[in-house]
Amino acid sequence: MATPALRFKRRGLSPQQRRDLRSGLLFAAPAILGLLIFVAYPVLASIYFSFTSYSILQPPFWTGWENYQTLLFDDPLFYTTLYNTFYIAIFTIPLSVIVAMGLAMLLNVKVRGQSIYRTIFYLPTIVPFVASSVLWLWIFNPQYGILNTLLWYIGIQGPGWISDPSWAKPSLIIMNLWGVGSWMVIYLAGLQDTPQELYEAAELDGATAWQKTIYLTLPFMSPYILFSVILMLIGIFQYFTQVFVMTNGGPADATRVYAMYLYQNAFTYFKMGYASAMAWLMFVMVVLLTFVIFRTSARRVYYGGQ
């Protein structure tokens, strides 16, 4: 005889519930232990190390706030790397959203071969970062690369791209735009979630495609855009592999991004404590920025799709 609807107020858990709880915890134990050992412990350890000078080979040497003070007040390279990272973020994020949204809207149109096009535009995201970095090194080559050759055909003398300090960051941004496939897929899902009746109603009222986009598509897509912007922000702060493979921070510090400098301090210069401090500063910055983004967008994001 089942009595699911009536819930008697009890103290604590019934033996049944206790047994279920124990089974559940045992099932979840591997994941919990993995999280504690491999994620929580290193994270907490790195907070500790950020207050020390630690070369890995010798025990940590307590230095208090010195790492943070040096970073904020005595290290010009810190601000250079922050500038580089922010520069890449400021351009990559809006451009990625626009390009991904545009692609998603195009791929939402019912044409023949729609699924083939969708696959093709998604393919760049499954190319491993190292392979695509090497590939783009050649595309960007000023003398023999495809990019400058194509420009030459239409009469433009291409710049040095990744070898030129003023073009290195824009080159990276272009390379990032090539990989918007995963956001495009998410936006596509979102587009298909928007109620079609509203579009039809808008057409009856004589709305142009542009008006439909601004007043219908974007509001419905706003939660997806918010989600992708925040994730992109977190990701760009950790931007590392492409720089490591392609430029190692050069030319002339143009692509020395935050994570690159962190890696150098940690593994090349034996300054693990300093690098840990950098990591925590980055965490604080990302949290602040995320908070700001949430606050400023609260009124603009419309969660009506559900």
Binding site: S23, P142, D253
Partner: protein
Amino acid sequence: MQEQSRKPLSRRTFLKTLSTAIGGTAFLPLLAACQGTPPPGGGAQAPSGGPTATVLRAEAGAVEPTPAPRQAAAGRSTVIEVWYPYGGADAPLYEEYWKAFEDENPDIGVNAVYAANDLSTNAKLFTAIAGGKPPDVTWVDGPQVAEWAARGALEALDDRIAAAGIKPEDYWSPSWNQTVYEGKVWSLTYGSDPNFGFFWNKDVFVDAGLDPEKPPKTVEEMDEYDTIIAKVDGNRIERLGFIPWTVYGAANSLFTWGWCFGGEFYEPDSRKITANHPNVVKALEWMTAYAKKHDPTKISGFQAGFGSGTQHPFFQGKTAMAPFGPWELSALKRYAPNLQYGIDFLPTGPDGAPPKSSWVGGWTVGIPKGSRNLDAAFEFVRWISTSDTATMIAGKTFNQFPGYRNSPYYNEVQNNPQLKAFYDILVETKHQRPVMPAQAFYTGELARAVDAAIFGQKTPKEALDEATVNTQKELDRILREGIS
């Protein structure tokens, strides 16, 4: 009705057993939860193996396949683990070493494992040492010895070296000097690279109207030759005489030309960094002048089409003059067999700089701290550095000049004109890179200074002043925090 002896498995029993079993597997190594979907162009993934030293740009061919670990011969009473840094095409050649050592030492087996060392760091080794499971023998690049010794990564070898009867005079003096720090010896030099022999492409000289048998003897002559040889077609560089900052990376380039111009980089007695020594500044100004002559972005682009080593523009006939080490002789034979070239001393620097400038590079072999087979490990270190067999392999298979002066290889060298040219350079060598614990940092700062100067972002003096100040701060900090 008889009771069934076995009840059917109830759901509760099944769940209990399964959860206990899975809970028990919690102690198996698990991979950490993934970091979420990496967004395009932003995910932080671990870098693959084979990073390069700090150069202006990564080379397309730099990521080499990782060689598989090599197992010791069976039935040896002691097995040592040796970590070596050569991947790619060279790795299988090392089998000659392991086999020769095992033949001469029937009770010791060698497990050889590849561990990348990009001349700045060897993360795999340090993790192993910190984790208490280091290999028994490791390769250590010359300038890294002081840094690793200061950090407690190496075992001091003085007693064993004395017991083996090895004396400092047995080695080329800069090669010996780089293994001594704070009065103790931390490794034995395996290779002494005379850096550099000045190579010039005789065919290009002829094509440009220069006498192929007369290389430039001074830096001023080299500048003239470069102007004559350079061929720039509108915005595309076809050929250059010479690119000063491509001598195995920006930092090594500055070392080479800094010493050539009579500069010094470090004062060991006062522990002062002297990157802004007036002659070093002059050298960087000279390098920058080349950049201004041909436009650094264009050169960077021109360079970016090639790699170093086998894809070096010199091999392709795109530059006519280049300083190279002796290991390039076999590379030239393999990849540019028809290239006619000559070898000479580096041109003399201006304003009375000492002629025949060169410095010694090369690897050393040491024992990481915590090794459990010290005797066998030292036997290997001694063997590879001083034995006739090993030094002959170094010379004949790898074109590597042994650090050990008494090697029979040096008799052979006299008969080969190209090797003899390098031998003469080695005999005259006086410099080695600074022996102090902030070496990796210093190299990074020098590379940044060269970059900044070449791209016109700072004047050479400003750039080198900054490098000096930063490195001095770092060195002082390390010394202040104490050395074990």
